[in-house]
Amino acid sequence: QKEVEQDPGPLSVPEGAIVSLNCTYSNSAFQYFMWYRQYSRKGPELLMYTYSSGNKEDGRFTAQVDKSSKYISLFIRDSQPSDSATYLCAMTGPPPNSNYQLIWGAGTKLIIKP
């Protein structure tokens, strides 16, 4: 079993829809949770960053962390064609179980149809 599981997609939705992207993980030591966005032929860029459990909102994007279920989500409201990209979750935590190394999901390819 991988430490971080993420459905690779592709996930195709119409413009304006609410998108839900998810990752599950197995290591309860993880404390820092990130979502990166990667456009085609570009490097990943940090989109959202959350420490421990709870929600964080930034414009149309909301990141949720449920540590009890070991489940994180990224919601995109009013999705736009420009949101079409691969979304990678990543997480890390302190030693000894994690040692602050970033563990990545496989990435979900998202396609927003105009």
């Binding site: 032929r41 602050y100 496989a106």
Partner: protein, 114 residues
């Protein structure tokens, strides 16, 4: 001004050749990384340097040799290239060694081994 820049962006070469990829960051970060991203978009850490010292050295064939002349530069040399080395190689940087996930990536170097 590009924050993390890699050269070359594209490399096409024959099996058995040796090649190098260079990376420079102008963000003042003290930690730099090399990641490999395969065709399925999975990101795998290869190496990490903090202030020119190697701190992460994952299970990577010893044909791969990183070199950090100063904290703003991290180069990757690959000897005796194999077909399986074909991938996109990303350089990244961050503050400090406690990796809370805020990485800044370059645009990637796409290596094709024929």
């Amino acid at each position: 001004d590009t924050a993390v820049s890699q050269t070359p962006k594209y490399l096409v070469t024959q099996m058995g050749n040796d090649k190098s990829i260079k990376c420079e960051q102008n963000l003042g970060h003290d930690t730099m990384y090399w990641y490999k991203q395969d065709s399925k978009k999975f990101l795998k850490i290869m190496f990490s340097y903090n202030n020119k010292e190697l701190i992460i050295n994952e299970t990577v064939p010893n044909r791969f040799s990183p070199k950090s002349p100063d904290k703003a530069h991290l180069n990757l040399h690959i000897n005796s290239l194999e077909l399986g080395d074909s991938a996109v190689y990303f350089c990244a940087s961050s503050y400090g060694t406690a990796n809370t996930g805020e990485l800044f990536f370059g645009e990637g170097s796409r290596l094709t081994v024929l």
